[in-house]
């Protein structure tokens, strides 16, 4: 120990000690060891896959042999621009937009209450109450709506009880969004999406609202603003980054989803389904890849706009 008059400790730790000394002298080496494995993994596996995806979208499929032709071509993208395919894209984007809007509307009261009025254990309860559906099984949640929306299911049953059947029928007979039944219509798909992504919208809005000091609202009150004005001029602008942050999730998730429309929806395709279908039995990977570029590009643009609006601070 230090009794021998030396300034230097030499604890008996052998190899590990020497390695530790080395890493101490060379912090760069330590960083490389820490960062190496995850980066290699993400870099090779994930980024590599994304590159592979991009590459695939420039390949094409030979219609006769069904094999992938590994030569650079824009044929696949040209296919993508065909009206039937563009329809799919448009359909998906419109659905994403309406889902985003609806979830923002429904999420806001919940987020507002949780941010401004929930205290103590109620706050924790709210948090768990929002988190649980978020993390519990995606498939089960979609399935739940199949149950609910089935013709013999609970929604129709309650509608009949309350006498609102004509309303539902009217909705279903509407040109685009209607269908033979709730579970085979865009309305059904819409409901499922809103349900699925609602927690993603609640949490960022709540976070953004929590950052609004209560004194600001009271000041607005003091200065004579009516509640509506306070909302429009103070609360809403401050909550907006949170709304945009939440919308990133709802938009992105809707763009890519292929299971919900398959289980609850019309037989017309969404982007996700198109991707799945093409890569499946058809083996048309290039087409699937080209289709999947659409959400990526759309989200890239969306994220760029969101960043400009400061949404990333709310995440």
């Amino acid at each position: 120990m230090a009794d021998d008059g030396m300034a230097i400790n030499q604890p008996a730790d052998g190899v590990l000690g020497r390695v530790s000394d080395l890493l101490f002298r060379r912090p760069g080496l330590l960083l490389a060891i820490l960062l190496g494995p995850p980066l290699i993994w993400i870099g090779v596996v994930y980024v590599g896959s994304l590159v592979a995806l991009l590459v695939q979208s420039f390949y094409s499929i030979d219609e006769f042999s069904g094999r992938i032709v590994r030569e650079f071509t824009l044929k696949t993208y040209a296919e993508l621009l065909r009206p039937s395919n563009l329809d799919i894209v448009l359909r998906t984007v419109l659905m994403a937009a309406s889902v985003t809007l609806a979830s923002a509307l429904i999420a806001f009261p919940i987020a507002f209450y949780a941010a401004r009025f929930a205290r103590g254990w109620i706050k924790g309860l709210f948090f768990i109450a929002v988190m649980l559906p978020l993390w519990s099984s995606y498939l089960v949640r979609v399935y739940a709506w199949k149950l609910i929306l089935a013709n013999e299911g609970v929604l129709n049953w309650s509608v009949e009880r309350v006498g609102l059947t004509p309303l539902v029928d009217a909705l279903l007979s509407m040109p685009v969004i209607g269908g033979p039944s709730l579970s085979f219509s865009y309305i059904g798909t819409f409901l499922v999406f809103v349900y699925l992504w609602l927690p993603f919208m609640i949490l960022p809005i709540q976070a953004a609202l929590e950052r609004v000091p209560g004194s600001m609202l009271e000041a607005s009150d003091d200065l004579g603003a009516r509640p509506g004005q306070t909302f429009r001029k103070v609360i809403f602008p401050l909550a907006l980054p949170g709304i945009v942050a939440g919308s990133i999730f709802t938009f992105s998730l809707t763009l890519g989803d292929y299971i919900a429309p398959q289980i609850v929806g019309s037989s017309r395709l969404f982007i996700g389904q198109a991707v799945y279908m093409h890569q499946g039995t058809a083996g048309n990977l290039p087409m699937a890849a080209a289709f999947s570029m659409v959400p990526i590009v759309v989200m890239a643009i969306y994220l760029w706009i969101a960043k400009k609006m400061g949404a990333f601070n709310a995440l």
Partner: protein, 272 residues
């Protein structure tokens, strides 16, 4: 409705709106529970004609369900393990040191969960195709581990940021080398965060279906089994019973993860 923080609490309309929203979130799941006990086999009739426990027994005897469950479990465990190791390493690098490209690294790690599952799935599929890798157990694990890393990473980073640097310095100062410091000081402080991250990663992997369908080939995980049942239903209550169990299996880790990380700034789950 005034916005003053009154002692009487929130205005009634707001309270109703908030509660209604929460009910909207939770009722569907409760309905699944209800349907697991129905006697009606061929449809989703509401209200259920009668109640029974027999479907639980039926599920118990179904080997295909047990196989799928076992596969999901194995995948989830291995993917979680890999995620914990990789996530902790990355967090260790990013949380403290400032280095060139740090923001990029953070972004890269978050990317697998930020991009839609379909993109991750088809990207992996494209890669396997170009590299001529056949589908297998390991292709599934590869996909799962990749997006599970970020969950552990977020929890680890949050915990590391809350750990005072002087704790590590104190340990070094008192004679512990880097490895001893990790073992005696850093790891105990990280333990619950890693546990929470691990549980979330487990739940995430166990439930994952989108990426899995792209990377699975002939393998059937429990979600894949469920998906095929949803598209072509055979015995609906059987599916409901399985659904109930899936909910419980993903429910418990979330609760535990929340319990482990509450009281901190970043509570588990916010990374999703």
């Amino acid at each position: 409705m005034r916005f003053r923080k009154s002692r009487s609490g929130a205005p009634l309309k707001l309270k109703i709106g908030a509660v209604a929203g929460l009910l909207f979130l939770h009722l569907p799941l409760l309905l699944i529970f209800l349907y697991a006990f129905t006697t009606e086999e061929k449809s989703y009739q509401f209200p259920p004609p009668d109640y029974t426990l027999k479907w639980f027994a039926v599920v118990w005897d179904r080997q295909d369900i047990w196989d799928a469950f076992g596969l999901s479990l194995k995948i989830a465990l291995i993917a979680t393990g890999a995620a914990i190791v990789l996530g902790t390493l990355a967090a260790g690098a990013v949380a403290r040191t400032r280095f060139f490209g740090r923001e990029t690294v953070s972004l890269l790690i978050i990317l697998p969960i930020a991009l839609p599952g379909v993109v991750t799935g088809i990207a992996l599929r494209s890669a396997f195709d170009i590299a001529d890798i056949p589908f297998s157990f390991w292709t599934i694990v590869l996909g799962h581990a990749t997006f599970c890393v970020v969950v552990v990473y977020n929890n680890a980073v949050a915990r590391l940021r809350r750990t005072s640097p002087s704790l590590l310095e104190a340990s070094l100062d008192l004679g512990a080398n880097g490895f001893q410091t990790f073992r005696h000081v850093l790891l105990p402080n990280l333990a619950t965060a890693l546990l929470a991250g691990g549980m979330l990663a487990f739940a995430l992997s166990f439930d994952e279906v989108i990426v899995t369908t792209f990377t699975a080939g002939q393998q059937t995980t429990l979600p894949i089994w469920m998906l095929s049942e949803l598209v072509r239903p055979r015995q609906r209550p059987v599916t409901n019973v399985v659904a109930v169990f899936v909910v419980i299996i993903t429910f418990l880790p979330i609760l535990m993860a929340y319990y482990f990380t509450r009281g901190g700034e970043a509570t588990a789950g916010q990374g999703k």
